[in-house]
Symmetry: D2
Subunit: 326 residues, 4 copies
């Protein structure tokens, strides 16, 4: 673990591709219930963004036989930072290839994590230009506030399942260049969870142990809203829309996120959380290490962690076809 911040080559988590076996229902969920804006279609994919996301999209929804996460991407801090980071990744042996990019962004470098999750990094992007009916009243805002559904503001963070938390953490630190802000270390010294970031958000990526020992599975993606009140209201809206609420709203002890987890129609877990006031501004922030005893206390106000939170991922374990580490 590094003890002082290094200037990050990456600027922020940029987008995630979700695979859904029910593309029409998933699209309706993200557009009408989450309140996102569709910005394009290509092949089997539909592209969407929250009202404060500045890029062309932060969510790529792709029809697929089985639910899961196709890939996720970070935007680099500059063209030079992109090249510099690619060299590190290539040297790690996990690099794959340059792609031509996608709707909304230029060429990207693809690689995998040690657990097999697909990642990309890129710099060239298309700033979102709202059509006249979506032009905001205030010019420092990406798009008009939709006033529809949960009104998710912007992509906040991703959570991965992994067969080896420590290996994935070291990869994220040493190869991807993120820094760890919080982590769980069991009494056995095994790491059970990690939270990492490339900027002042206290995390934009998390990963927790897959209880099935499966590799490369997806836990959830989170969109931020403006307040805890907005999260509570989202719960009302999910209830009315018949969306499965897994757990929440409640406050995590770790990172203090005010959370609400639901399953989108395709089966992927998605979260609405309070973008909140918590930032890590200190350059010498030391990772907070949570013990097994501390985790047994449940969430911040005592809610016990729901069992499915440790078992449900996508692809669902009964459709998972990869290797297992236990």
């Amino acid at each position: 673990m590094q003890s002082t911040i290094r200037s990050s080559d990456l600027a922020h988590l940029a987008h995630v591709e979700l695979l859904t076996p029910t593309p029409d229902e998933s699209l309706r969920f993200f557009a009408d219930v989450f309140g996102m804006t569709e910005t394009g279609r290509h092949g089997e994919s539909v592209y969407l963004r929250g009202w404060d996301d500045y890029e062309h999209h932060t969510l790529k929804l792709t029809a697929s036989r089985i639910a899961g996460m196709g890939h996720f991407a970070y935007r680099a801090s500059s063209p030079e930072a992109l090249e510099r980071r690619v060299r590190v990744i290539e040297a790690s042996g996990f690099g794959e290839r340059w792609t031509d990019g996608d709707l909304g962004h230029g060429r990207a470098y693809a690689f995998t994590t040690p657990d097999g999750h697909h990642m990309e990094i890129y710099y060239e992007t298309e700033w979102y230009q709202p059509p006249p009916e979506l032009k905001p009243a205030l010019k420092n805002q990406a798009q008009r506030f939709p006033a529809r559904g949960a009104n998710v503001r912007r992509l906040d963070h991703m959570n991965l399942l992994t067969s080896d938390v420590a290996a994935l953490r070291r990869f994220m630190e040493d190869v991807v260049g993120l820094r760890t802000t919080e982590m769980i270390v069991l009494d056995s010294r095994q790491e059970a969870g990690g939270w990492v970031t490339c900027n002042n958000k206290s995390y934009d990526l998390a990963f927790t142990l897959d209880h099935y020992g499966a590799m490369g599975r997806f836990h959830h993606v989170t969109y931020a809203v403006d307040s805890r009140e907005d999260v509570l209201r989202a719960a009302d809206i999910f209830l009315e829309a018949g969306v499965h609420i897994e757990t929440g709203p409640h406050k995590h002890a770790i990172q203090q996120t005010f959370f609400l987890y639901v399953y989108e129609p395709g089966g992927n877990r998605v979260e609405v959380a309070n973008a909140g006031a918590r930032l890590v501004l200190a350059p010498d922030w030391q990772p907070i290490v949570w013990t097994e005893a501390e985790r047994r206390k449940g969430q911040a106000w005592g809610l016990k962690t729901i069992e499915s939170f440790h078992t449900h991922g996508t692809p669902p374990i009964d459709q998972y076809e990869g290797p297992r580490k236990k």
Copy 2:
């Protein structure tokens, strides 16, 4: 104006020293009404911090004949960044000297802005260690939530008055190494306001034109609370405490801050604002330029800007003894 972010040598706005002719009343205001925690006293100064401020103090309250701002400081990103930045400042001709530091932080480099405001930068700091009765329940938090007064969370930003906005903006960009996210440019092409930052907060420093042409005056310092509801509650609390509310709560068009301005007993303007969800994550964010016509619309929801917002600063103009640019 730079078009892509450079890795900042500075990590964040660190503290501000307020001068007050009524030190006892000011202390009671910040401790009881603002809800801050006192962490030390030295000479004519008392040191305080918000419950989520990680350093020894973010506010130094110093008894003085006339109200005003003594100095303000940024913390550097690393020891190397500190040295690097000091070299740039020295080269600019605005450098002053190394100091031995203060309660809570190590040696600092002092300099002035072209307008005469006193600034410092430093790296070595003392992380706040709460006494037993202030130990938080969650170990990722600096201190127990006080549940007293407005419960301000952390230092958010500073606002300076200046006789020359453009000159101060260029100094902050080129010498201090901040980047501009929003600005006001009048029809005459004169700049009337600038908002700059060294991190993902959309600003941590602002400056606006001094209508009296005075130099080096102070406009306000802002502490963040967690929600717009907390700002509204703070208004109730200020009302009950007999604190002068200048304007707000309302939402600024610029930066979309949900604001509330009051005068502390010493006469300095202080603000409570929603720390909120707004971040600048894009590395190639282009400054938003507001025109005179746009500013005439008032604040976001139409509130007219109160006259005193353009005239009241500290030292008050009738006690100001420096030069004037008009």
Copy 3:
């Protein structure tokens, strides 16, 4: 002023009819921006309700040459209470006639205030039955939460302009059977405003002096939302929709309502307010009397009352054709 509560013959403010010269735009405003649900059309009128209103409608929107308020109605507490109250009204000389009722409610007794506002009272009503797509998840709720626009919850209160506040107050107390909870009395002893109620809401009807001396004009109608945060969000939504925001959000000193006033496209003033926690439960509540000096302090947190708040009403004064008392 009565000093102890009498059992009220009236249960609650039930609906208001707004006259609009721009019926299509007004309908779009109430349906899409306010978030109300249309429940019927008849002749030149469209009927709407908030998601928690239990009756067929609380707003009747009627096309008209000039903006204004057609009539407003209270629902009686029982059939007997209705008859009892009608007898009092008839005895007062202000009674008019029994009507056959309207969409959604049975026969009603029509009368006028001394200032000429049209009122009705009735008992028989049609409880709203939501169609399948609007059925709520929780059976103790009238309708599914719309998740659209400002999501106004229910009709809250009405405000009338009057040429004679004291006369209207006495009429509301003695003839209509409401009780006064707050009032403004000028240094001249002239009453300038009154707030009355028939239930535990601290007011469901208010009236203030018409500065033009006109008779029977309308000031505003208010719909309640759940929280102050919802009022703030409504302000964002009005801003985006190009709706004229007259004043607010801010907190009234009188009644402590957290208010936001806008003009619907037809020109009528409408308010969104926090339904809030304030109730008058005491049976011997004594009216709060505000003096001229107290009113000069502005609203709760110091906002000066905007001039148009005293002059704008509907019909607009330049289209008003009735008598004037000064």
Copy 4:
């Protein structure tokens, strides 16, 4: 169940007496953590109120060997209503006697429920007069906002455990004169819970089945705060103060209350809830009947009801010395 509202002889729930084996700790909890104001002491009792409670006290805290509820009281709507209601109670056979009153209120009539809970009704009361340092800025408010702890606003409702829900409901309807707004009826036709009110609050008293068959036990008393955000903040404050959080914050399906249950140091369950926007204004509101299947869904957003919610009451069952009905 009556189908139309009768004018209630009772105005509102007025106060509750809690018995505590740890009087000092309980007082510190209610004063410092709940944020209540002490208004008097007499014998083994301390009297407290929330900042918007208009009477001398709403909580009487009495030192006792075993935790529990001493008595609770309603204030009548008028002197005549008091006499009228007393006659009904006396006729029921559950009447006890007139008492001389207590600190803050005049003579009261004492009686018991069929389950043995002690109740009183009275009319004469002492309106709270704040000392200078607690005088509010707005004269329509009982007391200055304390800005301390959870800042509970006012007594909201009581919840009793009972060995016979149906019998208690009928008693509350027919003898006490409350009306039922919601209830739980099991598949066996046994009633398992009831919610009743004497005014526009959707309930001010509730009772649920005692799983031990004990008689006259106490479930909880609830104080209202202004917003859901205030309930969340209260959870933070309880966490910091080491108070046992039993369950919540979450939203009940029944009555839609946003709840948070904790145990005060003496062992009594107390709740902080959102005073909220929900009122029953309809005079012909029909009781909502919840089925066993509906209750199995848990709370509004799916939280399972915690086991202790059905078993913990005061006196604790292992200290309970009365009869059992099963």
